[in-house]
Amino acid sequence: MTQRSGTSLEFDFVCTLSDGLHARPASQLAEVAIEFASECLLTNLRTGSVASLKSVLAILALDIRQGDRCVAQIRGTDEQAAHAALLRFVEQVLPTCDVPLAVSHTATASNKLPRTLQTAGVKGCFGTPVSAGIGQGKIVPVSGMALPRELKGRAAADPRSELAQIKRAIAAVRGRIQEKLAHPQSPTETAVLQADLAIASDVSLAQKLAEHVMQGKSAGEAIMAAGEYFINLLRHSESEYIRERALDIEEICLHLLQEIYGVDLKTAAIELREPSVVLAETLAPQQLLGLDRQWLKALVLEHSGATSHVVILARSLGIPTLVGVKNARSVLQPGQEVVVDAMRGFIVPQSSPAVRKFYEREQKTLELRRDLLPAQTTGPAITTDGKTLEVAANASSYEEVALAFEKGADGIGLFRTEMAYLQRQRPPSEEEQFAVYAEVARAAAGRPVIIRTFDLGGDKAAPYLNLTAEGNPFLGYRGVRIYAEHHELLQAQLRAILRASAYGQVRVMAPMISSLDEVLQFKAAISQAKQELLRKGVAFHSDVPVGIMIEVPSSAFILDQLCAEVDFFSLGTNDLNQYFLAADRDNPKTAELSDVLHPGFLRFLKRIVEEIRGAGKWVGMCGEMAAEIRHLPLLIGLGLDEISLPAAGIPAMKRMVSRLSSAECERSLAKILACRDKAEIEELLERAQPPRSAQPLLSPELVLLGSQSKNKEEAMQEIVDAFYIAGRTEDRQRLEEALWSREAVYATGLGYGFAAPHCKSDAVLADSIGVLRLNHAIDWGSVDTKPVNMIILIAMRESQNSRHMKVFSKLARKLMNDEFRGHLLAVENAHEMATFLAQQLEISLH
């Protein structure tokens, strides 16, 4: 196979690697070639493209896939040695140098599009919805290489000095990667760092950079241009892995720019000019606040957990958000128009007619549902046995507070104040803060408002705080810990809060308390602020209650001392859980460990609440745990005085309180606390949910006559949407899938133009019968092969032994009766249909 052709030595080989010649093997190959002075070229015979073997980027751009035949040509002074070394590598090392890459599944069993989209061939990528809603817009990748405005069009110095800058930057970036490599790493990390190092050392990259500088570009513009060139090359590769490597190049280019100009490009402002879907690995809260909300329609994050600060912020701003969207930046193209469905958890291209139709229909469904569901619940939430639970709202702006009271909040359980400190060069003044707090206190009209003093540090930094980067910010200098250093800042805020107390029932609360000393200092600071106001003769309420967040576990073991000092407590379950279980909530690998249903954590909460209530003090919960309606039996069982959650969830939460008995919740909690594992807890929690007998089996809203659905998928969707509008399901996707998995056993077309799809699933909130009569018969795979125009759907809850099975079996038997079917086909309207069925099945419609 080796031969001399003209003046060069050659050998050919077939790539056997299943992922093709991707970055890792390519970087190893380039490492071998770079040792020699000879020119080393590689040709992919499938495409005819040629590249230098010394450049990883150039090799990657050849797009060599499994089975591709390639030729290496070596020419120069040390060609013999180079040829021998390369041949040895290709024959002996290359075929085994690569462990197969873990396949990144964009579609798994749980990741499914609705059937109507599936059958239309729509492809989507999937993530976890963390802020519900639907947003449409063009993809704007945020880590994308945008040169900050101030660097754009900057005049180039003479090419030599620009080039020297670039060289210094490359050396520095390489140095930093090598430094990291010197410390022991996992094999994967090492391989990734090596690939990065190879890119930073790449001769093609250096050449391209030099070319652009010689054309008169500044170092920054040359880096942008060279980066874009290679990114485009890779982006068109067939292999997802190589497309992803475009991100590595981007990363290296950003490092280079940072090295030269000292700016952190990731936090540079991004301008949005049209409806946009912002795509990022993750975002800092400041970055999110820097985006123009008029155009920000949805947020897609590759990483970030459901309780990270950026997600909490997105939720409070009402921005539809998906997290954990794997490889989003390599799958979704910049500028592509997409729909982000943060109700179901996927992103689909807007260009498909099926997608457009789906979301037109969705909009109607959502409007109908809004009209039908009672929007608010005023008055206190009282359990069936007469206990009141305050249902308050978390908020961080006047607008959110106003919305919360519109939704029937009993108070503001957590008013976050740190947002006002971010995104600016100077801290907010006392006056500015007073204006907001007073407005909030007034809007509350006598209901309590708990204002939490600023919780800065960690991932929430502001330039005037002079915070230094920390290896472990969540265990670092944040919350109450920075108050001593920023005494004046705290005084200004405390004065603003105290002054607002003249306008309503204001309470003040400190974050991140871990010791008694911190509480005493906080109280001393409040006294000082009061003295100052007294001295100036400014009005305030003298007995503003003082409380603390319970979020550091140590505070839970000195409650006797704390109860003697403060008036109230609020459980910050996000941090409390992550500190208690030593699991990072933002790390996808440990997210599962940071579980509020951990038996240990539940017992911990129980002890805390018992001790506080035993001391006669007030205790609420403002963490994400309180926002999940499913947890309500636990929260009532714990004996909390209050729960505080985002405004949108308040009406449903209040309704749910009124259907639970506190005595029963206590019993359920006692049983749950004895559980040994999560599955048992989940099961008991499901059983602790209130009975759903309130809803009848059938109602006229579940009867749809004159349907225009054109196929089985549309028909199924139409009935499930009707269930959703009527509040009988909150999870349409799961309900549809349950019905379809029954269809998969065999179709439920029973003949005579009738079908009886059915399922057992807790995705339906109450046992229900739905009816759909079609204008045009559709295929349903019936036993008699005839099309169907009458669909009777039976949905039964799984976890509760149904009292309705007798009705369902009666209905099934009746469907075999000609006269009964004839009547169903003949009735004229939904009401008549419901009445007829109710009478035949001997059930009530109320």
Binding site: G751, K760, M796, M805, K806, S809, A812, M816, N817
Partner: protein, 99 residues
């Protein structure tokens, strides 16, 4: 002729009962004396007794899952068909019996 039957489907919500209704109706029309036991979400209903089974010349199983308490039918001639057969073409099931 006396016949007994058992119907059972995977979810036991609908088809078990539809098939039972169909077999009863068609059986009677064809002059059989038929009793159908359902094994659905409510468990066994209209249970076939030892007496019912001993009197029957044949047992029809229109089932997609295993029949519960199968041992009751030891020594009885059984025709087993997929449940859908009872909906699609019950007549042919009875025709088989008569043959």
């Amino acid at each position: 002729m006396k016949v007994v039957a058992v119907t059972a489907c995977p979810t036991g919500i609908a088809h078990t009962y539809m098939a039972a209704a169909r077999l009863e109706k068609v059986g009677k029309t064809l002059g059989f004396e038929i009793k159908v036991e359902t094994q659905g979400a409510m468990g066994i209903e209209n249970k076939l007794t030892e007496h019912d089974i001993s009197q029957a010349e044949i047992a029809i199983f229109a089932v997609d899952i295993a029949v519960e308490e199968r041992e009751r039918f030891n020594g009885v001639k059984v025709i087993q068909v997929p449940l859908q057969e009872a909906l699609k073409d019950p007549h042919s099931i009875f025709a088989k019996i008569q043959r």
